[in-house]
Every structure is written in structure tokens, then in C-alpha cells.
């Protein structure tokens, strides 16, 4: 296996190059029912323009009033990223004209963002808990989303749906601390996990509730920063990694051919796996920011901040450490805490009395295996943590063997019945009844006299065959340890 902690380098004609990556993640605050500055709904997938208020449509005379829940969620997110919360922040107007933005400006926060510097801890190697790296967060500001344009519905017209217009976004700006596509991928996955634990954003990249602008530059290892390009609106972890890989190569080739990287905005084409320049007019970035005169500065008091702090759940890193403290392997702890649904399910399993190590092994190997096979998720499966704990308990106290447990689990998946009921009704209890086991063994040895002779003549590997035959005759219900003991007694 390649050493995933070795520095990522792009090989050029003039030697090796280092890639420098910063990400601006736009995360929709999906926790709020209403928009950032209006009382219109935010639900995904509504009929076009049905979730638009006169404020969102920028009718003259309308005034924005901030949604407290959006502010609260952005503050909680900042706290989860160990960031400075600015008790005084302000909204600015970012001015530009586009068909998806009826106001002619986006309300954002340039000069005084709500959240200041923080950090996200990533693992460079999933299996090595010491391979940590801190990725700096520069700031988080809250802003409005724009509407949606559809260009393919009519030969000469674009259709505009303003449902998304005014929905609250958090823009989470990282420092240029990442040095490879893998680091950027790990950062995005970790950030997404934290947002989902906090509950501020559902992290659903397909529905566009999380998307990233990818800033990439290259330099000779340890040298001065190069000129960066910004690839906009990349909507999956895989694509972000592909953009970095592609863009770093393109820049190295360009520089080595004697060219210069232009500081520009680019677009990613996933079908061709290339980025291309978005040739906009040179003054497209002249946003003429100024403080929004419709909104007073946002001031937060201690009681508000305290509520934000005390309502935070246990976060992935803390949970992982707690699981490891319970004797769970670092790998399993990582898997169990990566998604908030898994972690909640596993916590419920522990609450139901499951032994942590055994429970973790079972969830990661058996449960996830079954879910994958059946194309199900924890949300869709009928298996509850309480029933799973019951199954694990039946194994732990010797009522059923590990082999039988697999069988019971399959029946649970099919029927949704409780494990104790399955064991009871189908008579699957493990037996240590030596009389019954001996009787079966005697029959098998008699029926396979040739194999017994071979075994005794020096073929010890045949022992497994006798165990298998006995277990089969006992329909898997015999205690394997007793079967082994009895066979040894009779054969050796």
C-alpha cells in the first residue's frame, strides 16, 4: 500500500511541484424552515416560484429581517469548528447583475463576518490516528443564495426559479492549508460530518446544499505561493479531488512552457474531466461592497451564545476518542463516527446494553455488510438498536453460536421479528447436550468408516470434515466447543 502520508507531488520537466489548496464551502442552512431574510419556505423540490416572498423577489420597499435560527445555526457551526464568534458583525451588499438575482446585490458579510478563525482536524491516513493535520478556517459568513436558472427548456429563453433566492448560506472559508487532493477530500468529508452532527446543514451535495469553490495554485516545494485559480461550484468530494489533480497538472505544464497562470475563475466539466476558463468581462469582480443600509449591525448577547454552546452535541472527534476509550479499535471508532446517523445508532446500541467491542465489530462487519448487500441504509432497515443488542446478548451468554447469530440476523432482516422470538420459534438455541451430540457423532463415524481410518492413518486435516458433518447433522445448533471436545475424545 502506498504511504498516504508521503507528500503529494506533481512531476514536471523541471522537477517536482507542490500543490496548494484552499476551499470555500457554501453550506445551505437546511435547519431553518424559512429563508434568511424572509418568511418564505426553504424546502427542496417545490414547484417553481411558489416559495418566494415579495422580499425575495426584491419588490420595491421590501425590507429584510434576519431569521434568528439561521444566525443561531451559523454560530453553532462556528463553535463546532472551534472558531472565534464575533459578537458584533455586519451585513454588506455585494453588487452584481444576473438573472438569478433580482435584488441586483447579494446580502453577504465581507468586512465583519459572524465567525472568525477556527480549525478542522483531519486524518491523513484513516488507519493511523496519529496522522492528524489541522486545516485552518479563516472565517464563516452568512449570506443569501441566488435563484436557479434553466437554460435547456426553451430555444431562446432562460427560465428563472426564485425558490432558492434568499435561502441562508454559510460560506466557510479555509486557509490555503491543503497540499493534495486527498487532504482536500478528507477536509470536505470531515467538515460535512461536523455540519451534519451540528445539524446546521444536511450536507446533501446532490441537492446542492453543499458546494465548493476550489482555489488551486502550484509552487516548488516550500517556495512562494503561486497565482491561484478558482474553480466554482463543484458539487461532490470526488469532483473536488479531480479538479485539484487536473488543475495542478495544467498549471505546471503552463508554467514549464513559459506561460503564466492567470488569476481567474474556472468551471469544471465532469463529463470531460477538465476545467475551463470562465471568460467573464474583466470588471465582473468589481462588486462595490458597502454596508447594507437596510440592516443594523448584528449584536449577540451572552445568553444567545450560551444557548448555542450548550445545544451542541458530542462532535465526531470527541465521540471517536470516547469509543476508543471503551476498547473499540481506532478503525471501527472512525467508521462509527464518520456519519452522524451511524454514531446515533451505535450510541443507542450501547444504551441498550451491548458490549462496546463486540457491538462495534458486529455493526461494522455484519450490519454494514448486510445493508450493502441489500442496498439499504440504517434509516431504511427495520433492525432497531434494541433488537441488535438483544441478538448480541444471545451470543454473549452462549444461547446461540456466532454461526447461528448470522442465521438469526438474516431472519431478522427478512421478517423484522425480534431475535429472541426467532430463536424460540425456530428452536435455534445452541445445545451443549452431549448425549444428543454423541449420538450424531456415532452415526457419522459409522457412516464414514473409510475417513476415520484415513484420519487415524495420519490425515489430521480430516478433523474439520467431522466437525462440519456433526454441525450439519445438528442443524448448526450444537455448541462448537462441545462438538470439538467430543470428537477428540472419540477419535484420538
Amino acid at each position: 500500500m502506498a504511504d498516504s502520508t508521503a507528500p503529494y507531488r506533481v512531476k514536471g520537466d523541471t522537477g517536482e511541484w507542490e500543490v496548494v489548496v484552499g476551499l470555500e464551502v457554501h453550506a445551505q442552512i437546511t435547519a431553518s424552515k424559512a429563508k434568511m431574510f424572509s418568511g418564505a419556505a426553504t424546502a427542496f423540490g417545490a414547484e417553481p416560484n411558489t416559495q418566494v416572498s415579495l422580499v425575495d423577489a426584491a419588490m420595491p420597499g421590501m425590507l429584510p429581517v434576519p431569521n434568528q435560527e439561521c444566525i443561531r445555526q451559523a454560530v453553532r457551526t462556528g463553535m463546532a469548528l472551534d472558531a472565534v464568534i464575533n459578537r458584533w458583525s455586519r451585513f454588506d451588499r455585494k453588487n452584481y447583475f444576473y438573472a438569478d438575482l433580482p435584488q441586483g446585490y447579494q446580502i453577504s458579510q465581507l468586512y465583519h463576518p459572524l465567525v472568525g478563525p477556527g480549525e478542522v482536524e483531519i486524518l491523513l491516513d484513516d488507519k493511523d490516528e496519529n496522522s492528524v493535520k489541522q486545516i485552518g478556517i479563516e472565517r464563516i459568513h452568512v449570506e443569501q443564495d441566488a435563484g436557479k436558472l434553466m437554460h435547456d427548456q426553451h430555444p431562446t429563453k432562460s427560465y428563472v426559479d426564485l425558490n432558492r433566492c434568499g435561502v441562508a448560506l454559510m460560506e466557510i472559508v479555509s486557509r490555503p492549508d491543503m497540499r493534495s487532493p486527498a487532504e482536500a477530500g478528507a477536509y470536505l468529508r470531515k467538515l460535512r460530518a461536523i455540519l451534519r452532527y451540528v445539524g446546521s446543514c444536511d450536507g446533501n451535495m446532490e441537492e446542492g446544499s453543499m458546494r465548493a469553490d476550489v482555489n488551486v495554485s502550484v509552487r516548488k516545494p516550500g517556495g512562494e505561493f503561486g497565482t491561484r485559480t478558482e474553480t466554482k461550484n463543484v458539487n461532490s468530494v470526488r469532483f473536488v479531488m479531480a479538479v485539484i489533480e487536473h488543475e495542478a497538472k495544467r498549471q505546471v505544464e503552463l508554467i514549464e512552457e513559459g506561460g503564466e497562470v492567470a488569476q481567474e475563475t474556472r468551471l469544471y466539466d465532469p463529463d470531460k474531466n477538465v476545467t475551463r476558463s470562465l471568460r467573464s468581462k474583466e470588471d465582473a469582480h468589481d462588486y462595490r461592497y458597502f454596508p447594507d443600509p437596510d440592516l443594523l449591525p448584528l449584536e449577540l448577547d451572552e445568553a444567545f451564545l450560551e444557548e448555542c454552546r450548550s445545544s451542541l452535541p458530542e462532535l465526531p472527534d470527541a465521540k471517536r476518542k470516547r469509543y476508543e476509550g471503551l476498547g473499540i479499535t481506532p478503525y471501527n471508532a472512525g467508521v462509527l463516527t464518520a456519519e452522524v446517523e451511524t454514531a446515533r445508532w451505535f450510541d443507542a446500541l450501547l444504551d441498550a446494553g451491548a458490549e462496546p467491542r463486540q457491538g462495534a465489530n458486529w455493526v461494522v462487519a455484519e450490519l454494514f455488510g448486510a445493508l450493502n448487500r441489500r442496498n439499504e441504509t440504517l434509516a431504511t432497515t427495520g433492525i432497531s438498536p434494541v433488537e441488535a443488542a438483544e441478538l448480541l446478548k444471545l451470543v454473549a451468554d452462549g444461547t446461540i453460536s456466532g454461526t447461528l447469530a448470522k442465521q438469526v440476523f438474516e431472519i431478522m432482516l427478512e421478517t423484522g421479528d425480534a431475535p429472541s422470538r426467532i430463536v424460540e420459534e425456530r428452536g435455534l438455541k445452541q445445545t451443549s447436550d452431549t448425549g444428543a451430540i454423541d449420538a450424531e457423532i456415532d452415526k457419522i463415524l459409522a457412516a464414514n468408516a473409510d475417513k476415520v481410518a484415513e484420519y487415524k492413518g495420519g490425515k489430521p486435516q480430516l478433523f474439520g470434515f467431522f466437525v462440519g458433518q456433526t454441525m450439519k447433522a445438528m442443524q448448526g445448533k450444537a455448541n462448537p466447543q462441545v462438538v470439538n471436545e467430543r470428537l477428540r475424545a472419540k477419535l484420538d
Partner: protein, 95 residues
Amino acid sequence: MSVSPEQVRHIAKLARIAMSNAELERLVPELNNILGWVEQLAEVDTGGVEPLTAVIDQKLRLRADAITDGDCREAILANAPDAEHGFFAVPKVIE
């Protein structure tokens, strides 16, 4: 501080305001007058004075998270020059 005719033309373009040369000639000195006037204010010593963000001493009011608005597509689209299938329809805009 003053602005040149080129700067005024640029700002007008960014704001999508069409401007004739005659208007430009009239506006440049007008804007420079205003700028000079504001500049005079900079002569006041404001050391130790907190920045004034609003003339009335008020706090920003926050709204509870409740759906109280929207679901008024007819009204939203009523003034649009063109609308189809519940969408605003605009001349094709694609880069």
C-alpha cells in the same frame, strides 16, 4: 479626491445606467462637488468617537423561524414581462 469622466462612465456601466456624453459632462463636476463636501467632514477630529452605524439607537431585530410568506406565485410573476410554466422567462443568459 475626485473622479474622472472614465471612472464615472465605468461606475455607470457597472450599475447598468446608460449615460450620454452630455450627461457625463454635467455629472462629473456634480459628483466631485459632493466628494469635496464629504471630504470636508474628514477634517473633523473623530479620535475616540465610536463609529455611528445608525442615527437611532436601535438593535437589529431578529425574526422567529416560521413560514409566514411565499406561496404567491401569481403575484410574483404578475409584473414580469414574460413568464412560462411558472417560471420567469428571460432572454437566454448562458456563458
